[in-house]
Symmetry: C2
């Protein structure tokens, strides 16, 4: 109830603006002696530093204090179906070391998580840190995840992972908090926190081999009743009856996903195994590939137009491998949404490519765990412990 | 920042459970003298009462205190296109007096709001209250509303209301806070707070002459970037090309709304002006009307199936005039959603008729303003004033 704790004070200082004792007394309504005690506890555990130390190490003693984004570091893993990206970040999500590698998630959790742990060790060494500096680990997986328990739930593309205690396993090895979520959710978190944290309602559509959507509603990630929110890949595209691997017909993913486009390019005698080959052909100026990507954008637009009427987002961010095809995909999406959605719902709608690109996932995974670690209760525990 | 105020203490007591000074000291971590001061302020302004007074007026002096739902009363108006319902409620949303009447919103705001104010006076007299007991007014309108300013925004069915300062006008007459929202939003609020406040993600679909949806996301009303969220009436139904009044084709409202069904019944030589006539015919056992309502449910199901994949709600509540047709509508909705949505998204999905029925709107409008008035800051102001 009472919020005059060190953690509460830190949540004020987290914006990075230096503040003096007097300013903090005024902001909080707390007694000067209380503010001083709280500041001492935060200083002792390096959560804050005197403001001039943040700029130069010498000079007169400062009376202003500021958040120390290097107080701890976070580990982040964005695990895809065939590729993984790992990073070490500071507490603002700034990447200190990063590595991407081909890794088949179908090898199962034991092999994959062992590789993740080894690679984290290498990345830590690379940026001059030790495991004892790490405050937590954020992980994204390419399937539905029960966020509370950190376990995948019937993930169609992850054989061997169903119900595997990913969070518990990593926590038992590293000894810090671990949070696990769906890969598109962490991309939405990354894009939201890094590029537009003041936007309340944002959708992040990942268009790769599969298609999914991360949802920020009222400034917070919306996971839905069973953590299944955002699974737009199996929404039916009007007037389409392609059979999907899920057993239904006309699913967006079977019509407009990178895998579906690659298959149609192969029918034309072109070499294309997946979304990245489609992008390569578009970049090489292949007319057929460009036409397919633009039509994929229109099909996405049909599904997103309905979602715009329902959800009225302020921003739709397009990411994933197929987004690397440039403006062709987004042009098709815009064409249909602006033609089909209600005028009020599109009045201030911004449809754009992801600014973080391939880094959205690791930055979101890092911010997910950082938010958890910097919650006032967690900070209070850390300074008592 | 510091939350040891009377309003914060009241927010603990709002659950209606009686608590002693000692229990409150333990719960809050505040000093006993501070708790006593806060309780005195709340008692003085009747926000709380000694717990035994809530049961009997005599007996030994009590040491436990409880929230007083009769401390103030709220006024609520649910204004539809052709019909309005007004109510006086206590602070739990319990209806003390209520009236429904035919009223054409097309008469414009001056005529309508004058009638609303006169009727509030009559209802207050009916339940033995005066305007000075009123803490605030909640209003629902049948069109898009800018919630912050309390003005309708281009409402298609409300000629003369566009941009009219509804909240300001009522506030200047009654002198209490006024909040205005879309009618389906307040229905969702009413159903959520009265029947299942612990459900985080709930959709309330109103199926009447028009079709709209109120969205509870993470326990809070989701209004969207321009207050346009939930406008599902103009989402396209696959494989339909009926022309809608909005200029597009295949809109859900033009295919499955009560107005569209009545028009098709008239083509068969039956008398039907709107949704309520359709319900009358269904209740009379007219086979054609029953078939149309069931098909309307299936069309709604097609649109809601996509929304279930996207949003993963825990509950879908069906209300509005056409919902009075009984199980026929909901049977069609269930049939398509369970056949089309992803298994994980429907695993614990509950699709049901509104429990509050025609009262959902006024109860939601009341709870909207009560939540505002009982926010700790508002209560703190009231006990200082």
């Amino acid at each position: 109830m009472v919020q005059d704790t060190p953690g509460a004070l830190l949540s004020i200082l987290r914006d990075g603006q230096p503040r003096t004792r007097a300013e903090l007394v005024q902001l909080t309504g707390l007694a000067r002696s209380t503010v001083s005690q709280r500041l001492d506890a935060l200083l002792l555990h390096h959560w804050i530093v005197p403001a001039d130390q943040a700029i130069s190490s010498g000079g007169r003693p400062s009376t202003a204090f500021t958040f120390n984004p290097r107080a701890r570091i976070a580990l982040a893993a964005d695990i895809g179906v065939t590729r993984a990206r790992l990073a070490v970040t500071d507490l603002r999500g700034v990447i200190l070391a990063e590595r991407a590698a081909d890794m088949a998630v179908a090898q199962g959790p034991e092999v994959c998580l062992t590789w993740v742990l080894e690679t984290f060790d290498e990345l830590l060494a690379e940026c001059g840190h030790r495991m004892s500096d790490v405050c937590g680990v954020g992980v994204g997986l390419p399937g539905p995840v029960e966020h509370e328990s950190g376990r995948p739930v019937n993930p169609p593309l992850m054989p061997g992972w169903d119900g595997f205690p990913v969070a518990d396993r990593l926590r038992s090895r590293i000894g810090v908090p671990v949070l696990v979520d769906n890969d598109v959710n962490i991309m939405a978190l990354g894009e939201h926190s890094a590029t537009d944290p003041t936007t309340d309602d944002l959708l992040f559509a990942k268009v790769g081999t599969g298609i999914g959507c991360g949802i920020i509603a009222g400034g917070r990630l919306h996971r839905g009743a069973r953590g299944a929110a955002g699974d737009i890949g199996h929404i039916r595209v009007p007037a389409s009856d392609v059979v999907c691997h899920c057993g239904n017909t006309g699913c967006l993913e079977a019509v407009a996903g990178g895998g579906a486009l690659a298959a149609r390019l192969r029918e034309e005698g072109l070499e294309a195994a997946g979304a990245r080959d489609v992008v390569r052909l578009v970049r090489a100026g292949n007319t057929w590939a460009i036409r397919l990507v633009r039509q994929s954008g229109r099909d996405l637009g049909l599904v997103l137009a309905s979602i715009v009427n329902f959800f009225n987002p302020a921003q739709i961010v397009i990411g994933g491998d197929l987004a690397e095809a440039g403006e062709h995909l987004i042009a098709g999406i815009r064409e249909v949404i602006y033609g089909r959605s209600l005028p009020l719902a599109t009045q201030r709608l911004h449809i754009r490519a992801s600014e973080l690109g391939v880094h959205a996932g690791v930055m979101g995974a890092a911010m997910m765990i950082v938010e958890h670690v910097l919650a006032p209760e967690s900070v209070d525990q850390s300074v008592q412990g």
